[in-house]
Every structure is written in C-alpha cells, then in structure tokens.
Amino acid sequence: MPTSVPISWYLILSAILFGLGVAGFIYRRNIITVFMSIELMLNAVNLTFITFSYTLKKVDGHIFSFFVMVVAAAEAAVGLAIILTVFKNRETLMIDDISSMKY
C-alpha cells in the first residue's frame, strides 16, 4: 500500500463519476432523476478542478469549483420550478410522456 495517492487516481474517479452521470442522464426516465444525474456530473468536474488545484499549488481551481456550485444552486432553483410547472400542467414526471416539442 503506497503512502501517497497518485494524481491520476483522483482523475479516474472523476471520470467514472462523470460516466455514471451520463449513463443516468440517458437511461433514467424520471425527470427528477435525470436532473440529479446532471448534479452528479457537475460534482465530478469539481473533483477535477480541486485535483489540478492541488497539483499546481494554486487556489484558483477552488474558486472555479465555487462558481460551479453557485451556478448549480441557481440551476436547481429554476429547474425544479420548471419541473413543478410541468407536473402541474401534465400530471406526469416521465420524460417519455412530455414530448410535445419533439418533432
């Protein structure tokens, strides 16, 4: 067991989490779970920022990831309001049933 963790392990973990987020975004049918998959992808990107911030010994990556968090909060507020409105008008959360703008 090495005492220090290679940088690449953090990046690989970030890639795995991002891949899982993409898989959930494509595979899930519930609009709320799709939205949570987007949050998972944002978290994976944050981990990459923090890792490179450690490598470069600079604090800038932390600030970028802080901005990502702020944007995620704004996105969650607006997105959940949209979900509430869609549910009020359509009585469903399944994205297969909300396809009036498809063609």
């Binding site: 953090y10 709320i32 923090i50 944007v71 995620a72 507020a77």
Partner: protein, 166 residues
C-alpha cells in the same frame, strides 16, 4: 493512510453513483447522491480544500438536496414505471461499452499525465477561507459580481415559473 482513506471514500462514491443510476425510486437516488457528495467532500479535504469541503456539505448536500427531496415529496413521485422497456441485449451491451470507455479513459490518463509526486494530506493547505476570500475579492471580483446578478435572475425566474397562472 492517505491511500486507505482515498480508497474507502472513492469506493463509497462509486457505489453510491451506481446506486443513483440503478434505483427506480427518486428518493433512493437522492439519498445516493447525498452519499456521493459527502464522500467527495472528504476527498476535497484530503486535497487541502477546507472551504470547498464545507461549502460542498452546506450548499450541495444541505441546500440543493433539501430542495430536491422537497420537490420529490411535494409531487409524491413514486417508483419509475417502465413505460418503455429497454431490450436486455442493449442494456448489457451499454454497460460493457461504458466500462470499456472508462477503462480507455483511465489508461489515457495514466499514460499522458507527467510523473509528479502523489497526494499527501497536508502538502497543500492553501484552500482556507481566508486565501479564497482574498483571491475572490481581488482577482475574481468581476465574476463574483456577475454571479450575484445570475442568482437574482434565477430567483426571478423561479418566482415567475412557480406562479399559479402559467
């Protein structure tokens, strides 16, 4: 010790991530996402990001996930009805291709990254609230102010969307 903590919490994060995708009930997915965020906060702490780890727990796992759980319970969202059945072959082929893709990415990361010394807890402690605040209000002052406008627009948008007569 650093490697052991990394392996434990990376394992929890990956397990909770798989659980997020695999669960059919939204509440179970939300709890899995909270697990991912908690373990990621610990990894941030290991990388010297005290402030970001605290913000991750307070803003993400606290505020945003409470909003998600609130909406799930408000809409009484139940387990996902399988309205469109995905063929079994496609499902397993997709998992296989995802694993192959991630393996390829991991190989490329391992091969391309220049050899540097690994992460040891305590080697970089620049992520304190004081350091981030100093940088945020000097170098990144304009993006910070633009962010406040973004938040204001988001509040207005949420209010307009959640009105009764939309």
């Amino acid at each position: 010790m650093t490697a052991l903590i990394f392996l434990i919490f990376a394992g929890i994060a990956v397990f909770c991530g798989i659980s997020l995708v695999a669960q059919t009930h939204p509440i179970a997915s939300a709890l899995s996402l909270i697990g991912v965020m908690g373990s990621l906060a610990l990894l941030y702490l290991q990388l010297g990001g005290e402030f970001i780890a605290a913000a991750q727990m307070i803003v993400y796992a606290g505020a945003i996930m409470v909003l998600f759980v609130f909406v799930i319970m408000l809409l009484n969202a139940g387990a996902e009805a399988t309205s469109r059945q995905i063929p079994l072959l496609n499902r397993y082929l997709g998992m296989l291709l995802l694993a192959a893709f991630l393996g390829l990415i991991s190989f490329i990361i391992q091969a391309m990254l220049p050899k540097t010394e690994g992460v040891v807890f305590g080697a970089f402690m620049g992520g304190t609230a004081a350091a981030i605040g100093r940088k945020l209000f000097t170098v990144y002052l304009l993006p910070f102010e633009v962010t406040s406008v973004l938040i204001l627009i988001a509040i207005l948008g949420a209010i307009v969307l959640a009105r009764r007569e939309v």
